[in-house]
Symmetry: D2
Subunit: 154 residues, 4 copies
């Protein structure tokens, strides 16, 4: 029944430039086309773009919000979870994922990379934090998605 593909978290800032937005949207689209489920933080910017790309490709996007309700959920999510735990929802985003793709990103994204690695999830960086060998640095959405799927053994 629960035959969903790998869950790929797409993490990044809530306010981004048009270029990053389009990259995240393409990441979302490619994840969906390969049968993956997009997981994100549920708000705007990269989170919205990834959800949008996934659902535009008839895939599934699940948003995990920091709030006590889903009012701030972006309109492209298939489902939204309201955690009520503030930034601790970052932990839920990465724990729910088989692999994490960081697109750009600021401090919240840095925390998600740290938490993801702490719980053993592979992290792919597309224009995100430079952290040496700890993340797989890629140059384009297609490479990001291929690397993420490869890293989670699918």
């Amino acid at each position: 029944m629960s035959e969903a593909g790998p869950y790929i978290a797409v993490v990044g800032a809530g306010h981004v430039s048009g270029e990053l937005y389009e990259q995240a949207r393409e990441v979302g689209r490619l994840v969906a086309e390969r049968g993956g489920v997009v997981v994100c933080g549920g708000l705007g910017g990269v989170m919205e773009a990834a959800a949008r790309g996934a659902t535009e490709a008839n895939g599934v996007a699940i948003g995990i919000l920091p709030d006590e309700d889903r009012r701030r959920a972006n309109k492209y999510l298939t489902y939204s979870i309201a955690t009520g735990v503030g930034h601790a929802r970052n932990l839920a985003v990465v724990c729910s994922a088989d692999a994490v793709i960081a697109v750009g990103g600021e401090y919240g994204t840095l925390s998600e990379i740290g938490l993801a690695k702490k719980v053993g999830r592979p992290v792919v960086s597309l224009g995100s934090w430079e952290l040496g060998e700890h993340v797989d640095v890629v140059a384009a959405p297609k490479e990001a998605v291929e690397t993420a799927f490869g890293a989670c053994g699918v």
Copy 2:
């Protein structure tokens, strides 16, 4: 895109008698038949039964797990979220819901009722804690689901 119906959390113990299991399964089925999304804690007992009922009726069941990964997710969930925050995931279960149905239940369920009411969610009790006027006490799954849908204004 995100035109899912109301989210109904079905909460209860992780190990239950056959009777409670069947009640929770019917609750899940009825929620799904009315177009609602079942949210639960993702493990066994009432959580499994509700997810099973929902997906057997071709509905959607989302499990919100306490763990850092989804290994303990029951097999009837459509999607599973691993929060990594232990019992604090109870807060996410009720915040994600428009109404909560408690089926039987022990201390974890009691905490979910308290948290649900704290964040303003209506709670329906089917053989669960006796808490006076604070919860809507019902006698059967059908009444539970009708009351829950009514309480969330759908």
Copy 3:
């Protein structure tokens, strides 16, 4: 070095009548006089009163706040912890305690009683929720503190 006595959580509403306030204050005082550490949610009402009673008796009161900073901490706390996890801080309050005393209380208190019992902490009720044999119902602050200390084996 860390020879602090038992940690007693005093939980209850953030806005209370003068009578409940004085009861919580006496609970705090008596816990401190027996060498216990008062743990509370850090805000007003019962939380403030318990902290006040403890520190007026030269004891220690630690507040565990839901917020991302300590600005709302009541002024009687010896130390304050800002968790940033909203109502999930209720879990931290009870996990940090060897026993829990509920003084009056509303839905947040109900959730704390549920969480406390879930993680195996004894709960003493002073004018709080009626939950049958699941909590020790007492009639006065002195009895509450004696029962709580007895329950945590000190």
Copy 4:
């Protein structure tokens, strides 16, 4: 009553070399000598060393544990908080601090740096992650503590 000095979080790995341990211990000692409260994650390694240094200097060290009880608390803590929320306790560690000093550190530390910056806390790096202008890189414990106290305006 609550006239405690600034709270300085000392974060780092749970297993460290003798050199890092001694650095963290000196950081703890210096924080305490300046009247600050050491906050840490409550376990071993850097967390233990910082608590040890603080309490050896007659200061206060508060440990914020991921667990549901305080059994794993290191023996140098003055007080320990059991949060029950797993790695989400990293958020509580940094929210409770006026400034954060990272001593060495692995992925958990990276997440704490990200979370600290997200909630606006200054971060001082002593042999920790290289993150450009986002953290104040220092070379020795004394400089770390001076920088941290300066950053939180004390």
